[in-house]
């Protein structure tokens, strides 16, 4: 009998291993509970109260906040619509552009590193600087973009002052900012596809399009799913970009969920209502993710 067994004869090897495992993961688990699960539970509780951040007065109101948001607040549905339009505009554009760039830049040629860096640079650029520069470029008639358009005979709109064009502007500038990240993920996935498949297909006389459709695209499936999920979640969470470029305007045309939650909580000090909206956003994003995963499972 070993010394250890003498100290704790009631512990089986399995129990000891389990205990050690729990000990090893406990720091991460503690962080997860304190900084994720705890706040999440707190938000659920706050969403059932009317809590004024400034006066610190809190009253339990049950589901009133949810009832108000879902059935009585007309702004809320415009905000949800804006968030969906933003996501529908951003996700396909971002993914298509990322894939196109990845296809062009996944092969080795002189200057490839330079181009990859150029397209990835906006990802690491400060969001504040990015938004301010674009806001400047997208000014009315005197703006750089409209000056360029005027040069080719096009009268550009007042980008950030017309609701529909403002949405287009925030989507496109966001895509340019973030496309580099998805491009890198696609490049990694493309480089992981064995060259033999393409060589074999060529021997069989397959065209580029056929190779892409029958070999590359299916093999990119798991990566595409990951990209689609994270880009969709990111598009619903967008805040800084909207805050800096349009402040939700004009005419609430770019007022998206995350910004609306911020407005309720930190400008109107209504933390209870903001928490209820955050829970609704959580359910929407979770629902979309589950649907995407289910669709993928069905396809495979």
């Amino acid at each position: 009998m070993t010394a250890r067994d003498e100290r704790a004869p009631w512990l089986t090897l399995k129990m000891r291993e389990a205990m050690e495992a729990w000990l090893f993961i406990s720091p991460t688990l503690a962080g997860f509970l304190i900084f994720f699960v705890g706040p999440l539970c707190a938000v659920v509780w706050y969403s059932l109260t009317e809590w004024n951040l400034l006066s610190q007065q809190s009253v339990f109101v049950g589901l009133d906040n949810y009832d108000d948001a879902l059935f009585h607040n007309l702004d809320f549905w415009q905000v949800v619509r804006n968030s969906i339009v933003f996501a529908i505009g951003l996700v396909p554009l971002n993914m298509a552009l990322a894939l196109a760039l990845a296809l062009a830049l996944s092969r080795r040629f002189a200057g490839v590193v330079f181009f990859r860096t150029v397209f990835f640079a906006p990802v690491v650029t400060s969001a504040v600087a990015w938004a301010i520069v674009w806001k400047f470029l997208l000014q009315g008639e005197a703006g750089f973009v409209n000056q360029m358009l005027a040069g080719i005979g096009i009268h550009g709109p007042n980008w950030l002052r017309e609701p529909d064009w403002a949405m287009v502007a925030v989507i496109v500038t966001r895509v340019i900012k973030m496309v580099g990240l998805n491009m890198i993920l696609y490049i990694a996935a493309l480089q992981a596809i064995p060259r033999d498949y393409e060589a074999a297909a060529r021997l069989e006389g397959a065209s580029n399009w056929q190779i892409f459709r029958m070999i590359t695209w299916p093999l990119l499936g798991p990566t595409t799913l990951v990209i689609m999920v994270i880009t969709t979640i990111g598009s619903f969470k967008v805040f800084d970009h909207i805050y800096l470029m349009t402040g939700g305007g004009p005419e609430n045309g770019t007022l998206v969920l995350a910004f609306y939650i911020y407005q309720q909580g930190f400008q109107f000090f209504d933390v209870g209502y903001a928490s209820a909206l955050a829970m609704i956003m959580f359910v929407i994003v979770m629902g979309l993710t589950v649907v995407q995963l289910a669709l993928r499972r069905r396809d495979t």
Partner: protein
Amino acid sequence: MKSVLKSITLSMLALGMMSSALAAAELRFTVWTGNEAHLAMLNGIAESFRETHPDVTVRFETIPAGDYTQKLTFQLAGGNPPDAGWMMEDAASTFANAGVLEDLAPTLNAAEGYDLADFSEPAMGLWGADGKVWGVPFSTSPFVIFYNKDMFDKAGLEDPLALAAKGEWDMETFQEVAKALAEATGKWGFEFKDGQGYDTRIMHALMPPIRAYGGDVWANQECGFDKPEAIAAVQQLHDMTFKDKSIVPPGENGDYFSGNSAMTINQISRASLMPDAGFNWGIAPLPTGPGGEAPVIGQAAIVVFTAGRQKELAAAFVAHMTNEANVAKMAQFFPPARNSVLSSEAFTASNNLIPAEQMEVVGNAIANGKVLPSHERSPQLLAAMKPRVDALWRADANVEESLKTVCAAIQPLL
């Protein structure tokens, strides 16, 4: 024996240090200025407080103006309130209503030689009721017209100060002059305050002309945007922006301080930017309108927070900071609300950037002006107004209809 003595000495020393630490206190005071001259003046006032409170120091903490009210709220909500601080007029009602501001009346009334009645009554309007005082205004700053003298000369026009002296500076002349300036210089005739009249400074853009026309944005819990006076005033601004093309339109940049607009509306604290502007300039009163003279005043006050741990001491410091001598000192940057200081020659000579006759414009505006409106639900009101006002600033907008939708949106909140 030696070690016993050593321990006694050390204990005494430690106790002595603890007691001096207990007597010494530091007040944390939040401000939104980072200007060195402002801070030097404030530190001077804090230093003079030590004559009566030798162990008290005051630390001025700068929070940028754009984030000020929000960060202050976070500090209060997070249980880390400053002892005292500046507060903007639009936050006054919200904070007072939430019960987070300390009543300063007992301390101010008890302070030796402090004459609370010396503060002009309209200036105190936002900051107290029923004998309670939640804040002491330190800056009662009227909106004035800043003009680029060089651009007026180039266009061969009389400047607003000269026109005002002749009694000809009214809304009609303002429109004509702005148009003539834009045509003659190829730049803009007028820019809203800090170029933010379509975003964060909607009220600063609309309020002065509406009052000049004899209207108000709201009064007695009733929206005033859809009244004929307001409609006429906003229609004029709309025409100037889209027909005359003399006001910098939404989405364009026409910074007055860089010489891209001939006129702007602002407060005299912005005069500190003028030495670097590189052109001759002046200030003039706001143009009069069918409603007569209607100066508009922006305001800021000093408040003490109920949640602060040193409320009495902070209130005593506010009493010191706003006594007659210190208000006179602050007047070089922040127009005072004390009648005694306002009427003194020292005030008109207090700002070395602005000539005495132009400072009289400031003094008159304070005496006759009306403070910008405040409301306990100001943030909600502004958010409800914003999208409807956005719709107003389209070239093809129907001003009257747009203003009616503004009223429909804010009336339930009033």
